[in-house]
């Protein structure tokens, strides 16, 4: 074992050597620097390995031949080994990244660089207070030196601000140290911690001075303008070091000194951290300079870590895993992001659209963003999960809200940024050079994130059950992303089919899950089949689609809360990338993501309450929530409703589904929305529905469902865009489902299931076919279509069947849904809501007529004369689904009877009785098979009669104005289907005034304007920043010690 002292010795030795012989070394010095840093990494790494593999005692290094407190001692324990290792790793990689800049500036810069990394090592290892001060100062001076690597006025100003601020802070620290020495007679940190200086009114001043200066070093909001400027102006390579290495070291110092003052100081640290986390992220929302944005984000993350330290009393032994997960994610992601920023060198985050030139870099960017927000499988996901659940277990609601709010605000700017990179139209993308020495460190950081994520999974309670198999498949698809579509498509379909066989025995006997697994997996296969119609490689599509399906099936398989949440987030991430693929999808993908994060946090909060009620990690914990049960139910329902797009939370859907690619729309509409339904069903089945809170919640949700349906159908009727019409129709259909299951009776649930299965089938058909038509005709607008019935007869029949189902017209299964539905409504006595739904059902006919009429009937447009039928790869899955509809319509009992039996134990009254094919309720009976036979016979008779008469029909030419009901070759305003329901709109349009959109828009404006106002404190004046620091000290003093 190489002693830890050699970390310092080697760094100093090489630095001195360079100082003396640097000029004559020529090209050797940069390699000497790298070798030195590599050696330092090796030393700390082997200690880390030693501590991880053997249960070894802490190594203490004594200097000058005396024992402490008469000499300085260093300590190398497991935590020190970890911190020095991550500091040295980023130091080594950072030097590699800055290789050319350092080389250009010469040996002096390398010296400073070595001393900088060395100082952070000492800061971590030292157990002497004054030694700590000295090396904090050395670190500051070295930082100010490294800022000069960038030769710009801005960097100079930032460096000067940094020097002034740290000058004051270090003065305060020095005074604190001398007081601590005076009171305790020792400079040894262990002696100081034991001295209990927080207890006495005189000695507490030393505690205060030390804390305030260490906290200030961590750049608390709002006394951190100097720190943000450094991030903004310094070379991003230096920004990476300050963010990853300095902040980690500073965090550890605070950790080391945590016992100094006693428990009441922890509160202050937590509050300062919380304010920093929220405040810093809030101001990030108005920022568009990449480095400055990263600065805000860094400071925010450190605030979160500070808060975790402050809450360490509450978090107990969980604190380690929480802090580890969040720290390592921040460390790797922020270093990676700063390095990426240095590659792209854009002045505005919009310039990151240039990343599109290199899909691998885009992949890295996505990795870092998702790691920062805390998505699976990154360590921050587990950290946040443990953090929130542990806080819930201790009743710390305010802290939970703070953390989730801050994280959400972070999502606002990170996903705007990611959206720009993926989708922003950028006329001339700036070129950037890709150098291997700059790419390599970024890759390492991304690998760290994935590896550590998998590594910590089993450490989290319930985490060992998480199934990484589907994710491995996703990874595999990434690896073969260069192959053509048909190969990847076949592999993907094969993967899903294999999983069906794998999962069937697992789910056998659990009908609820089996039905949803069927929707997700069968739906996956069918919608993927349409992918064969695409050409090229379709980069990135398959890994993301499979990630979504992995998440979906994970939700089904989940037996614990964390598995469910893990899969839920996975599904969100995958679907986000699918949705944002559409040509004009940038804003819609963004709003989808924001609603999803908000919803996910609501679910997390609810799950945390469920876990904390009985410390049960299984999903069954939802059944015994005794901590704020009504709040938990409400939050969970709201979270799931962000996916079902219920009224108020629906505004992302029309754009996201309407603008998505033609085979993505059915995936995210017919399949993805059902995840929300599944969540709601799970919640409703588990929750204590006799409680007042749950009853009220269900009543409200019933109303929400009814109004969603009305709004969705009306909006659909007024659309000109075919895909948006379908999207609004989805909103409405999900409203029916929400309403039906909120009734909480066997009939209601049967109706809900029927609607769920129906909507899956007909919406998949409609989006596939209409999407195919839209792609073929090159327009979304129905008034630019027409007469397609002769060009696309198969499409016509598919759409016709689907709209018969939506309309609820016998003999198809839509009627079964309606029949059950109205039975349930009458049985429940929700007449008023039922009337609204009934009214909405009539409106549905308006948009259904518009859809089929405008596309297939009417006049064929001139430019469409050579159009052929859409691809068979779209029609085949559609017709498979039509067969499904026919079977479900003719023999509903095979599915509905088992569902009814499954539901029976949950609901007291079994009101639906089956006799063979006949279903009877108190209100009447219905027989799907008979209806099918009767209607089919009548239809065939009528058809035969019409055919017999057909000899007398007269073929009318297209330009016969009586037939066409529209005048040819005029602008669309004269088209019969353009604004076809203007009269209704005039009468009832006020009902769908986009109040919800206006509400969310004004909310977001409020946040942004507030952030804009708040960030005016960063006026740029060095002196003001110094005043902020002094004011921070004064205010903290007055609150902590002045009795304020």
């Amino acid at each position: 074992m190489v002693g830890p002292i050699y970390i310092i010795a080697v760094a100093l030795g090489i630095a001195f050597f360079m100082g003396l012989f640097g000029k004559s070394l020529k090209n050797l010095s940069e390699w000497a620097m790298l070798a030195g840093l590599g050696f330092m990494t090796y030393v700390s790494g082997q200690w880390l390995l030693e501590f991880m593999s053997n249960n070894r005692a802490v190594e203490t290094i004594f200097t000058a031949g005396f024992k402490p407190p008469y000499s300085i001692n260093l300590q190398m324990g497991s935590i020190e080994a970890f911190f020095t290792f991550i500091i040295n790793v980023v130091g080594f990689l950072g030097a590699m990244y800055l290789f050319k800049d350092l080389k250009k500036t010469g040996p002096n810069a390398m010296m400073v660089y070595l001393v900088f990394i060395m100082s952070l090592n000492v800061v971590v290892m030292t157990r002497d207070m004054f030694n700590l001060f000295v090396f904090l100062e050395v670190g500051s001076i070295a930082t100010a030196g490294l800022i000069l690597l960038t030769k710009s006025g801005e960097a100079l100003q930032a460096g000067m601000k940094y020097l002034i601020a740290t000058g004051i802070i270090s003065g305060v620290l020095l005074i604190g140290i001398i007081f601590a020495y005076y009171f305790s007679g020792s400079l040894n940190i262990d002696d100081l911690l034991a001295a209990n200086m927080g207890a006495s009114k005189t000695t507490v001043i030393a505690v205060f001075l030390i804390y305030v200066s260490i906290i200030l070093e961590l750049k608390p909001f709002p006394a951190n303008g100097w720190g943000i400027d450094v991030y903004t102006a310094a070379n991003p390579g230096i920004g990476a070091l300050v963010s990853a290495a300095t902040a980690s070291a500073g965090f550890y110092v605070l950790y080391k000194l945590l016992p100094l003052g006693g428990a009441e100081w922890l509160n202050y640290i937590a509050v300062i951290g919380g304010i920093t986390f929220v405040g810093s992220n809030l101001m990030g929302t108005k920022q568009d300079r990449p480095n400055r944005l990263l600065g805000y984000s860094s400071i925010g993350q450190i605030g979160l870590l500070m808060m975790i330290l402050g809450l360490s009393d509450i978090l107990g032994e969980k604190m380690m895993i929480i802090a580890f997960g969040i720290l390592i994610s921040h460390y790797a992601a922020k270093a990676g992001l700063f390095w990426l920023s240095g590659l792209i060198q854009a002045k505005d985050i919009k310039g990151w659209a240039a990343l599109r030139k290199s899909p691998f870099l885009l992949f890295l960017f996505g990795t870092f963003v998702f790691a920062l927000i805390g998505f699976p499988p990154f360590p921050s996901f587990f950290g946040k999960w443990e953090l929130i659940t542990t806080l819930a277990a201790n009743g710390q609601w305010a802290w939970m809200v703070t953390i989730l709010a801050g994280s959400f605000i972070e999502g606002i700017y990170l996903f705007r940024w990611l959206g720009y990179a993926i989708k922003l139209d950028h006329e001339d993308l700036p070129d950037f050079k890709i150098e291997w020495n700059k790419i390599f460190p970024i890759w390492i950081m991304a690998i760290v994130l994935y590896a550590v994520g998998v590594y910590v999974t089993p450490m989290v309670e319930g985490g060992m059950f998480i199934n990484y198999l589907p994710l491995m498949f996703v990874l595999f698809l990434f690896a073969i992303d260069f192959l053509p579509v048909y190969i990847k498509n076949t592999i993907s379909i094969g993967g899903i089919i294999w999983y069906m066989f794998h999962i069937y025995p697992v789910l056998e006997g659990d009908l609820l899950r089996l039905i949803f697994a069927g929707i997700f997996l069968v739906g996956g296969v069918l919608t993927l089949m349409a992918g064969y119609s695409k050409k090229g490689t379709r980069k990135g599509f398959y890994p993301m689609a499979m990630m979504m399906f992995a998440g979906l099936i994970g939700i089904i398989e989940a037996s614990t809360l964390i598995e469910f949440f893990f899969s839920w987030e996975l599904m969100t991430a995958g679907s986000y990338f699918l949705i944002i693929r559409g040509k004009r999808s940038m804003p819609h993908g963004y709003s989808y993501m924001l609603f999803s994060i908000g919803g996910a946090y609501a679910i997390l909060f609810g799950f945390a309450l469920a876990f904390a009620s009985n410390f049960d990690t299984s999903l069954a914990a939802l059944g015994s929530i005794n901590l704020l049960p009504t709040l938990a139910y409400t939050l969970l329902a709201v979270g799931f409703m962000t996916k079902t797009a219920s009224l108020g939370l629906h505004i992302w859907l029309p754009g996201a589904h309407g603008e998505a690619e033609s085979d993505v729309s059915p995936m995210v509409s017919a399949i993805l929305l059902k995840a929300g339904v599944f969540g709601l069903m799970i919640l409703f089945l588990y929750m204590d529905r006799t409680s007042v809170g749950a009853t009220n919640l269900l009543y409200v949700l019933g109303w929400v469902g009814a109004l969603t349906t009305l709004m969705g159908n009306m909006s659909a009727a007024f659309q000109e865009d075919a895909k948006r019409l379908l999207a609004y129709s989805s909103v409405a259909q999900l409203g029916y489902i929400l309403f039906a299951i909120s009734i909480m009776s066997q009939l209601g649930w049967l109706a809900g299931f029927t609607y769920t299965i129906n909507h899956f089938m007909f919406k998949a058909i409609l989006f596939l076919v209409v999407g195919g038509i839209v792609a073929k005709l090159g327009t979304h607008y129905m008034y630019e279509m027409g007469g397609m019935i002769k060009k696309m007869p198969f499409s016509f029949i598919a759409v016709l069947v689907s709209i018969i189902v939506i309309g609820g017209i016998p003999p198809l299964s839509g009627f079964a849904g309606k029949w059950l539905f109205y039975n349930a409504v009458i049985e429940k006595g929700w007449y008023f809501q039922g009337a609204i739904i009934f009214f909405a059902g009539i409106i549905a006919f308006l948009y259904l007529f518009k859809l089929i009429h405008s596309i297939f009937l009417g006049q064929l447009k001139d430019n469409h004369r050579n159009i052929k039928e859409i691809s068979a790869w779209i029609l085949v899955p559609s017709y498979i689904l039509i067969i499904g509809i026919m079977i479900f319509s003719a023999f509903p009992q095979y599915i509905l009877q088992p569902i009814g039996d499954m539901l029976a134990p949950y609901f007291s009254t079994e009101t639906l009785v089956w006799e063979g094919t006949k279903a009877t309720t108190s209100l009447g009976y219905w027989d799907g098979t008979t209806i099918m036979i009767v209607v089919a016979t009548a239809f065939l008779l009528l058809l035969a009669w019409l055919l017999a008469l057909s000899s007398k029909t007269k073929k009318i030419e297209q330009f016969n104005i009586v037939f066409a009901a529209e005048r040819p070759f005029r602008p669309e305003t004269t088209h019969v289907s353009y604004n076809i329901y203007a009269g209704y709109k005039k009468a009832l349009g006020f009902l769908i005034t986009p109040l919800v959109t206006a509400f969310w828009e004004s909310m977001s404006n409020l946040v942004l304007e507030f952030a804009n106002w708040l960030r005016r404190i960063y006026g740029g004046s060095m002196q003001n920043y110094a005043i902020h620091v002094v004011l921070f000290i004064v205010v903290f003093y007055l609150i902590a010690l002045g009795g304020l």
């Binding site: 000295v134 500051s140 100003q157 000067m160 005076y182 006026g1019 002196q1023």
Partner: protein
């Protein structure tokens, strides 16, 4: 006597801080820093002072009786280190000011506000 010294130290600290926060000329601000640091050093030395004892220099006092005759040597050692660090910081600040002056031909702290928000 030691109260006078320690009070002077604190007074100098505040004076220096006032200089840092109020002066507009960068050189004067650096002077403020040196005064601030001097104040801190005086406070440190006076904290280690014990009435009636000599400086901890062993060529005047025999090592055998040092423990009973000298003041606490640690603050004095700390002050020495602090002075060295202060020197480093001041030098670096002066370099910065030199470069800033070259940049805008001004020493007024308010002419360097390019970075904000």
């Amino acid at each position: 006597m030691e109260y006078i010294i320690i009070s002077t130290g604190f007074a100098l600290m505040l004076l220096g801080l006032w200089g840092i926060l109020s002066q507009k000329n960068l050189i004067k601000i650096i002077l403020g820093f040196t005064i601030f640091n001097t104040g801190i050093n005086i406070v440190m030395v006076s904290i280690g002072y014990v009435r009636g004892k000599a400086a901890p220099i062993l060529d005047v006092i025999k090592p055998s009786e040092a423990a009973s005759k000298i003041v606490d040597p640690i603050p004095q050692a700390l002050v020495l280190t602090a002075i060295v660090i202060g020197l480093g910081v001041t030098a670096l600040m002066l370099v910065y000011v030199l470069k800033l002056h070259r940049e805008k031909n001004s020493l007024d702290i308010n002419s360097f506000k390019d970075l904000k928000w």
